[in-house]
């Protein structure tokens, strides 16, 4: 049984297609593995005997852990919030339906920061997820449950959402692959909205090939989401072995003393590997990227404050039991149902959108967004990719940053600019590093960003680099 769990999704799918293993046996092996979750990675898991009847397709029999932000008909969907406790949606998100149509099945729903607001998973109303490499540390967020499940062998693959780094950062902190596709590559229909102009679904997987396999099934235009356009030509399994003729841009503004020494070491070593594969390293300028965090923490809360107005205790979700009249019902429902971070962002958002402050905050942030997108356009005229560390540090300790929201926000420094520009970016594990302050070595992610809709090219480069890095380390195992 355990041999089945060693297979990558691509390997398992090939064996299922060849009739060497049965989809039912494979799914059951993963169901048992998921039932052993000690990390609080899952909020809901499928029960025995379900999920074996599957469609024929490229993902036939593949179990997928799904972030609890995707609506799944008939099974609980909470978005990590108390206000949606017990909510069972009447329909299924397009992303999940597309996986189903390819033969995959939902294995469980994974824990997350409430409404995807957070970088550590500590904002979940259902308790934090533990990092499988060191249970005293965070898995990252907001797709922390999805990342931890894949890293700990509780799921073969997962999907999550990324608004400012919520796929890439937890993938980095858990030592797996996380891909944020171009905005518009995958339908957002049925994906509970946080910041609609930024939210994007993507895969969290053991390797780049599996990320490509999931993206191939997920992407596409959806009449239910008019901002979805899909990826022209689809996605194929990557096979590139070198990086000859490709140019990788390192932002000149990247103050290399702003990240942990261990992260810097792995980053420099990865640049050397790129050169070893025939790639060229160049410096690029992203002068506005340093304002990314400021712009992001205006735009995302502004959109969230509007999106979250729907949770009023009328049509679905929790309603406060302590209410004399209608206004009190609204107020108490939201006061009792939302956690501290969600309230903080709603307040920031409504403030930024309020008359008299609108231009100074929201208007200005939208202009910074234009500048950041232009920076990338200019950079991509000179290089094929832009590369950075995914996160300035390895996984930090539980509770370490909860008292200081701003330092938590700064964690997204390297991932937010790509989100604002709407371009695809992938994080791949590049090595292990000792945390500042000592302790066992932990995974470090390497981020590669590409122009809009250049996912195939991005996956090819990530694949070639992945083969050269040869990251074999596992949580709880020997340093590798």
């Amino acid at each position: 049984m355990s041999d089945l769990l060693e297979l990558t999704v691509a390997q398992a799918a090939a064996k299922i297609a060849a009739g060497e293993i049965s989809p039912g046996e494979y799914f059951e092996a993963w169901r048992v593995a998921a039932a052993g979750d000690e990390l609080n990675a899952y909020l809901w898991r499928i029960e025995e005997g379900n999920g074996y009847e599957v469609e024929d397709g490229p993902l036939k029999g593949i179990p997928v852990a799904v972030k609890d932000i995707f609506c799944t008909e008939g099974s609980p969907t909470t978005a990590g919030s108390r206000i949606l406790e017990g909510y069972c949606p009447p329909y299924t998100a397009t992303a999940v339906r597309r996986l189903d149509a390819a033969g995959a099945r939902v294995l469980g729903k994974t824990n997350m920061d409430e409404f995807a607001m957070g970088s550590s998973n500590e904002n979940s109303a259902y308790g934090p997820v533990l990092n499988p490499w060191d249970r005293s540390r965070v898995p990252g967020g907001s797709s922390g449950g999805s990342a931890a499940a894949v890293a700990a062998g509780l799921a073969p693959c997962a999907i999550g959402t990324d608004t400012g780094g919520s796929i890439r950062q937890p993938a980095s902190l858990c030592g797996i692959v996380g891909l944020k596709p171009t905005y518009g590559a995958i339908s957002r229909y049925g994906m509970i909205a946080f910041a609609s102009s930024l939210d994007q679904c993507g895969p969290l997987t053991r390797d780049v090939t599996d990320a490509a396999l999931l993206l191939a099934a997920l992407q596409g235009r959806d009449p239910c989401d008019s901002t979805s356009v899909g990826i022209e030509g689809g996605i194929l399994a990557p096979s590139r072995e070198d990086l000859k003729g490709l140019r990788f841009g390192v932002p000149g503004e990247l103050a290399r003393d702003s990240f942990e020494p261990g992260v810097r070491e792995v980053f420099e070593a990865t640049l050397a590997r790129i050169e070893g594969l025939g790639g060229e390293i160049a410096e690029v300028a992203l002068p506005s990227a340093e304002h990314g965090i400021s712009a992001y923490y205006v735009i995302a809360p502004a959109e969230a404050s509007s999106n979250l107005a729907r949770y009023d205790g009328v049509r679905y979700g929790q309603r406060s039991a302590n209410a004399g009249d209608l206004l009190e019902m609204y107020e108490n429902t939201r006061a009792e149902g939302f956690g501290a971070e969600v309230k903080r962002r709603i307040m920031l958002g409504t403030y930024a959108l309020s008359s008299g402050y609108y231009e100074a905050y929201y208007g200005q942030a939208q202009k910074v967004r234009t500048r950041i997108a232009e920076d990338f356009t200019t950079a991509f005229a000179a290089v094929d990719f832009v590369v950075t560390p995914t996160s300035p540090s390895v996984a930090f300790g539980l509770g370490e940053k909860t008292d200081d929201p701003l330092s938590m926000y700064l964690n997204d420094f390297f991932t937010v600019p790509m989100s604002l520009a709407g371009i695809p970016a992938i994080s791949i594990p590049a090595g292990l590093a000792e945390p500042e302050g000592g302790g066992p070595r932990l995974p470090v992610g390497f981020q590669i960003a590409a122009p809009a809709f250049a996912e195939q090219k991005l996956l090819e480069a990530a694949y070639a680099l992945e083969q050269a890095v040869g990251f074999e380390a596992r949580p709880g195992g020997e340093d590798g």
């Binding site: 909510y87 069972c88 949606p89 009447p90 329909y91 171009t182 905005y183 518009g184 102009s197 008019s226 901002t227 356009v229 304002h291 965090i293 400021s294 712009a295 923490y297 205006v298 205790g313 009328v314 049509r315 679905y316 979700g317 929790q318 309603r319 209410a323 004399g324 009249d325 209608l326 206004l327 009190e328 019902m329 501290a340 309230k343 903080r344 307040m347 920031l348 403030y351 100074a360 905050y361 208007g363 200005q364 942030a365 939208q366 202009k367 910074v368 967004r369 234009t370 500048r371 997108a373 200081d404 929201p405 701003l406 926000y409 604002l420 520009a421 709407g422 809009a452």
Partner: protein, 71 residues
């Protein structure tokens, strides 16, 4: 929370000092035209399905407390 919010706003205030005169604001990164469909009725959620998750359904509607407590 007041202190935290002030700290965040102080950080965010940095962009207020940038000279961005003449820069077009970006609300959306993908250039798309608005999409319209023909105004024809088509199936949607059945009323009983739409009401299934309601905290207090009543006779095919969503029941809420009175706008005025003593009305």
């Amino acid at each position: 929370m007041t202190g935290e919010l002030s700290g965040i706003l102080e950080h965010v205030d940095r962009i207020g000092k940038l000279d961005l005169e003449g820069v077009e604001p970006t609300s959306h990164v993908v250039a798309l035209e608005n999409v319209l469909r023909a105004d024809e009725p088509r199936p949607s959620l059945a009323p009983e399905v739409a009401l299934e998750q309601a905290p207090e359904p009543l006779d095919g509607a969503f029941r809420v407390p009175s706008p005025q407590a003593d009305a």
